[in-house]
């Protein structure tokens, strides 16, 4: 497969799991928006603009997966903190279980392909053997 296609499908995958990455980041602690967005952009790899993550946070808040509260800051204006709600925690647990199943199946498939030399390796010089 051409490399462009592989990286594009990985980019789609990243976008798809992004909202659960938000929930995962908030599992341990409440984070204020700037901090949350920075960590999220780092976790989702190159090329993710921090600003594009805010609409995602708004949607999660509207869906009740996260809640927000304002806190005073020592060095500037009050800050908006994000916290995981009960519904968000449940969504995260469900996703975690499905994600584990999913990655295990994909890993197994990829491992099978690797064990069959030639089939998935375009650099292999030996031509495919013809069956008589």
């Amino acid at each position: 497969m051409e490399p462009g296609r592989a990286s594009s499908s990985l980019a789609q995958l990243r976008r798809g799991v992004l909202e659960h990455c938000v929930l995962a980041l908030l599992h341990a602690e409440e984070l204020y928006s700037l901090d949350l967005v920075r960590r999220l952009a780092e976790a989702s790899g190159q090329g993710v603009s921090e600003g594009t993550l805010y609409p995602l946070l708004s949607r999660l808040r509207k869906e009740g997966r996260v809640s927000t509260s304002w806190r005073e800051s020592s060095s500037g204006p009050p800050r908006r903190y994000y916290a995981l709600t009960t519904s968000g925690a449940a969504a995260l647990a469900a996703f975690t279980a499905e994600w584990r199943d999913f990655t295990a199946s994909v890993d197994a498939l990829l491992a099978t392909a690797e064990r069959q030399p030639g089939a998935a390796d375009p650099t292999d010089p030996t031509p495919p053997r013809r069956t008589p």
Partner: protein, 181 residues
């Protein structure tokens, strides 16, 4: 050129561009997005010991182009239904269904209306374009049949033309219904 551009100017310019780019969003979502971005920039600047234009530029670069940020919000907001009734589509259906009989201009206007419709997908636009086809086919068949068989004209014209018209009307009704949904 921008010798005197300050950090505040850069921020104001960024927020202005974001406000412009996000006019398509519902008012509440737009206000929230602008507030979040304003807060992001303010928090970052408050944390930094150096608050010069170069640093602020980095902050804005990491946020991404305002147009991209607005697009991300738009992609997640449900597309608002176009306001008003399907007047454009009804006009297009009338012009394409029967208007072409009066001349090419009516057909052309109908075509433009159909293809600029915000309520029809490409499929409906293609169907609207094909609206004159049933009657045209009926006329061609009438011609072919009368030439070949010398049958009395009325006996052939009427049923074929009726069938063509019925097909057009049926298609037109479905297209208008689709535009209303």
């Amino acid at each position: 050129v921008n010798r005197t551009t300050t950090a505040d100017d850069l921020v104001a310019d960024y927020l202005h561009r974001l406000a412009q780019a996000s006019t398509g969003l519902p008012a509440g979502e737009r206000a929230e997005l602008l507030e979040q971005i304003r807060e992001h920039i303010a928090a970052d600047r408050a944390d930094a010991p150096d608050d010069g234009p170069a640093r602020v530029r980095t902050v804005l670069d990491r946020l991404g182009p305002p147009e991209e940020v607005a697009a991300a919000a738009g992609a997640q907001a449900p597309a608002p239904a176009p306001p008003g009734g399907p007047a454009r589509e009804v006009a297009a259906v009338l012009l394409l269904g029967v208007g072409w009989v009066a001349g090419g201009l009516g057909w052309l206007v109908g075509l433009v209306l159909a293809w600029t419709s915000p309520r029809w997908a490409v499929r409906q636009k293609v169907l609207a374009t094909l609206l004159p086809a049933p009657v045209l086919i009926a006329l061609l068949m009438t011609h072919a049949v009368t030439v070949a068989t010398h049958a009395p004209l009325a006996a052939v014209v009427l049923p074929l033309l009726l069938a063509g018209l019925a097909t057009t009307v049926l298609l037109a009704v479905r297209l208008v219904r689709r535009a209303r949904a």
